[in-house]
């Protein structure tokens, strides 16, 4: 077993809670006291201690905690460092594969050309035996220098009771070489017609498969371009203000509550909110929203976005792995590696594939030996070798993950975060899309449009009472009324006995009066007569406004109407969904008349109004019972149960305030076009996976029997092992290249 090296190493730890220079001595002393630590030095400004020795980081952290501070390992390796390292490793591997290919083809191509155009690759004289012996030894050196990894891999797998692609290549090339050497050493043991050598096949197959692996490696690199772009958004350093001084430190050393300065043209390093200054920030890389967003004191800044105009100081709120960008990268990476259900069958087949091919190869050889024409030995060895070589489990195994990798990345580029392969697959099958109204179809920031008073009170005094009452509520409509009152300079009064009546409204005591505010149901429940004002309320509702009733001491007093503007592109996005054959349904807690007006405006004919929050998931279930595959789109917080109940839950983010953990798919920009984009990408990805799987299945199902010689009785042809090697090498490449086509996919905007 491997043990973690305990030789002298230097580790860096980030210290939290060290506020004074005297802490430095304390920490350094605590660390130096440990056996195995030869040096501990702390940089107070950066809050980093660097420790040389052979002590594990857990023990170092424990020692620091014992003297009253917190510490964490400096994961000095950022995502971009890891990516760079991976690229370097891939490049080295690519060079190695190309070198091995050149060695193998260097022998294989001249041999093949000789066999095709110059002479026979048979042994009839002693001189020929000598020449072919030398060629056989050269081939053995090719097997060693260019194909060693196949043989070692095959042997290791065998010892482990498993078999993989290496097994097939090693057996195929090995069988061809061993047979040829038998012909060289014991020609008399083989019938004269069968004294053929296959050294060129061994060398060519090793060369071609190495070439295929090299090209596949390059193509694979392109499948991860999207994640590379996301990782590239991360800033490398941040300018923090510590002890009144501005210093540049690596972003992984930024601590919570650090004050960070960001200047025009710089990337925001961590998530936080502005303490001082104002600026415009380009958030398009995360949200797809092209216009820069104005940011003032108190506004949030998101890591990875670009500061355009002003210099600001902000307070770090989320650092390291907690930033929205880090979470997005993490989620995209996980989703890229997850497998949709469609790929599971291929996994099951892959598990049995290699031993089955080995069995077919033996059966094929036996059939040729028993029933084949002369030279039976040559036919048997060629067919057995070709079966082993042509079969490609890799193409099958790669078919799904490569497409998912590109598809999920492509979606992320469009501001659509897909949680996993299953969500990706189900999205392609959605038949009904339910849209929540507030914040999904509309902007979610309603404004007071009308105040209709019944008695002699002024509009201001009514607004003052209602706003005071609503100041304790978190409902978006309530917040809009409080906002409007503040805008008009109305001061709020003290509220007592506040009760929220779910789905109906609120009641409380304000200024010694019992006040009631809510919908018609609430008024009916409390036996409050609304008179003719119901008609007026209906007229307001028909204008897509939401009217609410206000009563003081059980006497109806006013109607307050609020309206939530519809998002600019909701109408076109909904049309786009409908054009794709998707049934669009609107769901809202709002009253029927308002719901009808909004639905009519955006072109939705089917809607459910006055749905209580807890009933939203029942509506989803009802549609599912009717056989619909339901997508539910909401804000991800209030609609969480309905999102969970739906086949696919879409959380719609406003700006970068994403609730990444709450839904199957998160739309980072507020536009509903993200829904159609998500569906289009998932359909394209599924189509691509099906093409890949179909191709890989057909390739193997047709290739293996042809290699075994089923065409021989009809057409008299038997596949050459070299052609089988080329086909095998390029079948994986074809799958990866087909997946890469998805990179050029563009969703239609209509």
């Amino acid at each position: 077993m491997l043990s973690i090296q305990d030789s002298l190493t230097t580790q860096e730890l980030i210290i939290e809670g060290a506020g004074c220079a005297s802490c430095v001595g304390k920490i350094e002393k605590a660390l130096s006291a440990l056996d195995g630590v030869s040096k501990a030095e702390m940089n107070f400004a950066q809050r980093i201690v660097s420790v040389t020795g052979s002590v594990g980081s857990e023990n170092l952290i424990y020692a620091i905690e014992q003297v009253g501070y917190n510490a964490k390992t400096s994961t000095a390796e950022t995502e971009s460092d890891a990516l760079e390292e991976k690229e370097q490793a891939d490049q080295m591997y690519y060079v190695k594969l190309i070198r091995e290919m050149s060695i193998a083809l260097g022998l294989g191509v001249p041999l093949m050309l000789y066999g095709l155009f110059i002479g026979e690759m048979t042994i009839n004289t002693d001189a020929e035996r000598l020449v072919w012996l030398i060629v056989g030894l050269l081939t053995a050196s090719v097997m060693y220098f260019a194909g060693k990894h196949f043989y070692i891999g095959a042997w290791n797998s065998f010892k482990n009771h498993s078999a993989n692609m290496d097994t097939l290549i090693a057996l195929g090339t090995g069988a061809a070489w061993v047979y040829s050497m038998v012909v060289v050493f014991f020609p008399s043991a083989v019938p004269e017609m069968a004294r053929h050598v296959y050294f060129e096949a061994t060398a060519m197959i090793i060369g071609l498969i190495n070439l295929g692996l090299a090209l596949e490696l390059k193509a694979r690199g392109r499948t991860s371009l999207a994640i590379k772009r996301l990782i590239g958004l991360q800033a490398k350093t941040a300018r923090v203000i510590r002890d009144g001084q501005e210093i540049d430190i690596p972003i992984e050393s930024v601590l919570l509550d650090d004050h960070v300065r960001v200047r025009p043209g710089e990337k925001i390093s961590v998530d936080g909110f502005i303490l001082k200054g104002h600026t415009a920030v380009d958030e398009s890389m995360l949200t797809g929203e092209p216009m820069p967003v104005e940011k003032n004191e108190g506004d949030e800044l998101v890591a990875g976005t670009l500061n355009k105009t002003g210099s600001v100081i902000f307070k770090a709120q989320r650092v390291g792995k907690d930033t929205a960008l880090a979470q997005i990268i993490n989620m995209v990476k996980r989703a890229q590696n997850s497998k949709p259900p469609i790929g599971r069958l291929a996994d099951v087949i892959s598990a049995y594939f290699v031993p089955v091919v080995m069995i077919i190869s033996i059966l094929s050889a036996l059939i040729w030996l028993n029933f084949g024409p002369d030279p039976v030995m040559a036919f048997a060895i060629v067919s057995a070798t070709t079966v082993l070589i042509i079969a490609c489990p890799c193409a099958l195994g790669l078919a799904t993950p490569m497409s998912v990798m590109v598809g999920v990345g492509k979606a992320a580029e469009a501001g659509v975060l897909i949680r996993n392969g299953e969500a990706l697959q189900t999205t392609s099958k959605i038949t009904t899309m339910i849209l929540d109204k507030t914040g999904t179809i509309t902007l979610g920031s309603p404004k007071v449009t009308d105040v209709v008073v019944t008695g002699g009170e002024s509009k201001e005094s009514v607004l003052q009472l209602v706003a005071s009452l609503e100041s304790g509520s978190e409902h978006p409509l309530a917040m809009s009324i409080v906002e409007s009152a503040k805008e008009q300079g109305v001061s709020l009064l003290e509220v007592s006995d506040f009760h929220a009546i779910a789905g109906h409204g609120v009641e409380a005591v304000v200024n010694g009066q019992k006040v009631l505010f809510g919908n018609q149901k609430l008024m009916h429940k409390q036996n409050i007569d609304l008179g003719d004002y119901v008609n007026q309320a209906q007229m307001l509702a028909a204008e897509a406004k939401t009217p609410m009733y206000f009563a003081v001491d059980s006497v109806f007093s006013a109607i307050i109407a609020v309206a939530d503007p519809i998002k600019e592109d909701s109408i076109s996005a909904i049309k786009r969904l409908q054009n794709n054959g998707i049934r669009v349904v609107m769901l809202t807690g709002d009253n029927r008349a308002t719901a009808k007006a909004v639905a009519a405006k955006v072109g939705i004919s089917e809607f459910f109004a006055e749905v209580l929050p807890e009933d939203k998931s029942n509506k989803v279930q009802e549609l599912q019972m009717k056989g619909e595959i339901v997508g539910m789109t909401g804000d991800g917080i209030n609609d969480a149960p309905a999102l969970a109940m739906a086949n696919v839950g879409f959380a719609i983010g406003t700006g970068t305030d994403v609730a990444i953990e709450s839904a199957d798919i998160t739309l980072m920009r507020g536009s509903l076009h993200g829904l159609a984009d998500a569906i289009a990408v998932s359909k394209a990805t599924l189509r691509n996976i099906k093409q890949n799987l179909f191709g890989a299945f057909i390739y193997n199902v047709a290739g293996v029997p042809v290699a075994a010689g089923v065409l021989y009785p009809i057409f008299g042809v038997l596949l050459n092992p070299v052609i089988a090697g080329a086909a095998m090498a390029f079948s994986s490449l074809t799958v990866v290249s087909n997946a890469n086509r998805l990179r050029f996919f563009k969703a239609k905007e209509h």
Binding site: S162, I362, P393
Partner: protein, 118 residues
């Protein structure tokens, strides 16, 4: 002569069935929650690991194989998928599991291993 060859062929096939499908190799204990699996030359070593049921553990991977196939390890039943950097130890947290066998492997299922939970 042909009889002998045919018999040899059939024995070979029986051997393949037994070696790859019927025989269950011994598994290694994850001692003290630390187990390092080396990813090299087409295999995980060790490829079968014994875990105690109802107890979370950590498993570390050390990838020595540069081939891209070795680059990702997927525990599909556990919804875990992690990238393995070359030449570095990557530790993966395995949550509490019920008794049973959980497979893990590369994306193409060429590298294969099992967690045997008792």
């Amino acid at each position: 002569m042909m009889m002998l060859v045919n018999l040899l062929g059939i024995l070979l096939i029986a051997g393949i069935v037994w070696w790859f499908w019927v025989y269950k190799p011994k598994s290694k204990e994850a001692s003290d929650g630390v187990q390092i699996i080396v990813v090299e030359n087409g295999v995980y070593a060790p490829a079968r690991i014994n875990l105690e049921s109802g107890k979370a553990t950590n498993i570390s991977f050390m990838r020595k194989d540069q081939s891209p196939c070795a680059g990702t390890v997927v525990f599909s039943a556990l919804d875990i998928s992690e990238e393995l950097p070359v030449g570095k130890i990557k530790t993966i947290h395995i949550p509490k599991l019920d008794s049973g066998t959980y497979t893990f492997g590369c994306q193409m299922q060429m590298y294969r291993g099992e967690l045997v939970v008792n």
